[in-house]
Subunit: 399 residues, 2 copies
C-alpha cells in the first residue's frame, strides 16, 4: 500500500507535527473509574479534540503489545511486522553510532556477579554514565581475530557493543537471564547462521569478565537484543517528507535516525523541545516530539504521576499550536496502563487536527471519547497517510 502513496506524492510547504506521549493509553484504577488521560485536567488537548478527528489506533495489530521501536515505526508510517528492529540496533542508532550493513549490535548491561558467578545486580548499582564510559574504554581494546569491535556507553549502566566482520548474524540468544541469583546465559546461536557470532560474543564476554573482575560493582556484562541493521526506506523516500525528531532519550533518537530523520541533540525537557521545534520550523516539514514520562510513570504503576505528566504535556500544547502546523497529530506509541505497570495491547487514543477535518462530535481527548470519534480503531501506520492527505501532499488516484 505504501507504493500507491509513493506514486501520488506532491511537494508543498505544509507542516506536519507528530506529538507522542509515550505509553499514553491507560486504564481506570478501579472499575467504572477514569483512565489517566480521562482523569487529567487537559483543557488544551480537549479543545484540540473538539476541532479534530479522533479515534484509537493499534500500533501493531489487535491484541499485540508493542515494544517501543515497533510502536514508533508504526507512527512513522511503517508496518512494524515488515521491519523488525532489534534492540541492539535501536541502542546503537540512539547514540549516533554509524552502523553499517552486516554489523551486529547488542545491548550491554554492566552487572554485578558474585564469586560463584551468579548475578547479584543486573544493573551494577546503576553506575553513572561517566563510569560506564570508562569501562567501555577498558573493553574497547579487546581483540577478536577477524572482527572489528566497538563498545560505547549509552546511559547509566547501559552500553552497546557492535561486531563488524564477515558472516555475522543476529541469530544469537540473549545472555541476560532477566533474573538475579542465577548465572548469565551463554550466547547460543538460534540457527546455523548465528554460529560465528555466538562464538565471537562468547569470546568478548569472557575477556570482558577478565578485564572487569576488579571493577565491582560493574564486574560483568550481560548482552541482549542481538540485531542486524535492516534496510528501511526513509520517510523522505516513502512519503516525500523532510523529517526532524526532537526526543530526549537515546532509543528514540535511534529509531528516528533509522527512518531518515535528522535529530536535534541536547534536549532535556519539554521547554527545550518546544524551543527546538520553533527553531527548526523553517527547515523541515515533519516534526516528531516525544515525551517519555507518561510511559515511565505508567511502568512504575504510578497513576497520579502519569496523570500529572499528561497535564504537564497539556500545558505545553499552546506553544505547539502557536506555530500553526497544518496538521497536528497527538497520540502515543502504545498504552502503558499504570494498573498494569507495563506496555499493553490496548489501542491508543489519537487526534488529528487540520483545516479540512470532518467534525465528529468528540469534545474531550480520552479513550472513551475517542471511541465515538470518526476513526474508531485503525492501524497506527495509517496516521501518517491521513496526515499527508490533510497536508494536501497526495494527488488524486485515478481518472
Amino acid at each position: 500500500m505504501q507504493d500507491i502513496v509513493k506514486g501520488l506524492l506532491k511537494k508543498n510547504d505544509k507542516k506536519i507535527v507528530l506529538l507522542v506521549m509515550d505509553g499514553l493509553g491507560g486504564l481506570p484504577k478501579e472499575k467504572g473509574g477514569k483512565t489517566e488521560l480521562e482523569a487529567a485536567e487537559s483543557p488544551n488537548l480537549d479543545a484540540l479534540a473538539t476541532e479534530s478527528e479522533c479515534g484509537l489506533h493499534t500500533p501493531i495489530d489487535f491484541g499485540i503489545t508493542p515494544g517501543s521501536a515497533p510502536g514508533h515505526l508504526s507512527l512513522f508510517g511503517y508496518s512494524p511486522i515488515d521491519f523488525p528492529i532489534g534492540r541492539g540496533v535501536v541502542a546503537a542508532m540512539g547514540i549516533g553510532f554509524p552502523l553499517q550493513a552486516g554489523d551486529v549490535a547488542a545491548r550491554v548491561n554492566f552487572a554485578t556477579i558474585d564469586e560463584k558467578g551468579s548475578i547479584t545486580d543486573r544493573r551494577a548499582g546503576r553506575i553513572p554514565t561517566e563510569r560506564c564510559a570508562e569501562l567501555c574504554e577498558l573493553l574497547a581494546s579487546i581483540k577478536i581475530p577477524g572482527i572489528e569491535l566497538f563498545i560505547k556507553p549509552v546511559m547509566d549502566y547501559r552500553a552497546v557493543v557492535v561486531f563488524r566482520g564477515k558472516d555475522l548474524s543476529d541469530h544469537v540468544q540473549d545472555t541476560d537471564p532477566q533474573a538475579v541469583g542465577v548465572k548469565p546465559l551463554k550466547p547460543k546461536p538460534i540457527s546455523k547462521k548465528g554460529g560465528k557470532t555466538a562464538h565471537v560474543a562468547a569470546e568478548f564476554i569472557a575477556e570482558a569478565g577478565k578485564r572487569l573482575s576488579d571493577q565491582a560493582p560493574a564486574n560483568f556484562v550481560l548482552t541482549r537484543g542481538f540485531a542486524e541493521l535492516p534496510h528501511i526506506p526513509s520517510m523522505q523516500e516513502l512519503f516525500g517528507l523532510k523529517p526532524v525528531a526532537m526526543p530526549i532519550y537515546p532509543d528514540y533518537k535511534g529509531i528516528s535516525r533509522l527512518v531518515g530523520m535528522d535529530v536535534v541533540e541536547g534536549l532535556n525537557d519539554l521547554d527545550h523541545q518546544a524551543t527546538a521545534l520553533r527553531d527548526q520550523w523553517d527547515q523541515y516539514d515533519f516534526f516528531f516530539l516525544h515525551h517519555k514520562y507518561t510511559d515511565s510513570t505508567g511502568e512504575d504503576g504510578n497513576y497520579d504521576a502519569k496523570v500529572s505528566e499528561i497535564e504537564k504535556f497539556d500545558a505545553f500544547v499552546p506553544r505547539i499550536t502557536a506555530l500553526k502546523p497544518d496538521v497536528l497529530i497527538v497520540t502515543g506509541d502504545h498504552s502503558t496502563p499504570s494498573v498494569m505497570k507495563s506496555h499493553s495491547h490496548h489501542p491508543v487514543p489519537f487526534l488529528i487536527h487540520a483545516d479540512q477535518i470532518r467534525p465528529d462530535g468528540v469534545r474531550e481527548f480520552g479513550e472513551r471519547a475517542c471511541v465515538t470519534g470518526l476513526w474508531n480503531v485503525i492501524p497506527g501506520r495509517l496516521l501518517i497517510r491521513l496526515a499527508l492527505a490533510y497536508a494536501d501532499k497526495l494527488a488524486k488516484y485515478g481518472a
Copy 2:
C-alpha cells in the same frame, strides 16, 4: 477475498439498487457548521437512514482521494488498486466504443495554439460536440503503417483516440501540459514498452496538426491518459448479478460497461432515470443510478447548489422505494466538499436498507450521524458484499 464470495453465490430474484450521488461527502462551510448533506432538507433519506444500517466508506483507502473511475469500481465491489483504469479507457468505454484487448486509448482535447506553437486555449473555445464530430471525421482517415486508428467525439471539445496494432502499450506520457502559454509536450515513452506507441502517437499528432491548421480555434490536439483495456472480471462472474446502469454522463457509462453492466442510453435527468429504473425492473437484479450534479456543484465550490442537488435527489427517492427493492444502498463514489472545490479523501456516508438490517440508532443521513452507525468506516468495495448478504445471495461458509 472475491474468491470466497464466488464460491458462495446463490441465485434468487431479489433486487439490489445502488444510488450514487457523485461526490456526496462534504465538509462544513465554517467551523462547527453542517456539511452539505447535513444541511440538506432530506426527509426521505432521513427516514431511510432510520430503517437502515449506516456508516462511512473509503472508496480506495485511508487518506487517498479517488478519481471517478476507481471510486465507482470500489462501489461495484472491486479493489481499485488491483484494477487501475486509465482515463483513455474510461472515455472510450463511455461512448460505447468496442475496445479490444491490446488497444491503447487516450483522451483528446481539441485545443488552440498560436503561430509559435504555444497553447492559448486547452479547450479550443469549448467548441460544441457537433463541431468536435466534424473534426474527428477529418482526422479519422489519418494513416499510420501497421496501425488501425479510431477517433471519436465524446462531448464538447473532448474526443477519444484509439490505436489498434501489435506491441502497443500505455507506457506513454501525456502531451497535455495542463497549462497555457507553453508548447504541447512530446508523447514520450515512460518505459521501453511504450516506445512504439509513443512513435505512433507522435505521427498522429503531427498529421492532426497539419489537417487542423486552418480549423482555428480547434487547430491542435492534446492527448492524455494513455490506457490499455485491463481484464476486469464482470459482476456477473464475480457476484452472479445481472446488472444494469442508468447514468447520464459518458464516463459513468464507460465504467459501468467495464464491469459488464448493460447501459440504458438517452437519459437526461432524474425523472428519466426513475422511469428507466421502473421499465428495467423485471429484466435485471442489480441497478445502478448515478446523479452527477452533487459532484459538479461541489467542484464549483457552490455549497448551496450542492445542498439543493441533494434535496432534488431526496425528492426522487420515493419513486425508487415504491419499487420495493430488496436491498437499497445510497452513497457516493467519493467526497467533494464544496469548500475544497475538488474530490477529497474524506470517507463517504452510506446507508443500506433491507428487511433484516440491524437497527443502529441513526435517524439522519449525514456524515456525523453515520459515524455513529453500525459500520463506522469500512472499505467501499465491501458494500456489494453486504448487499449480496442482505439479498440472501450468499450461502453459509463451511459446515
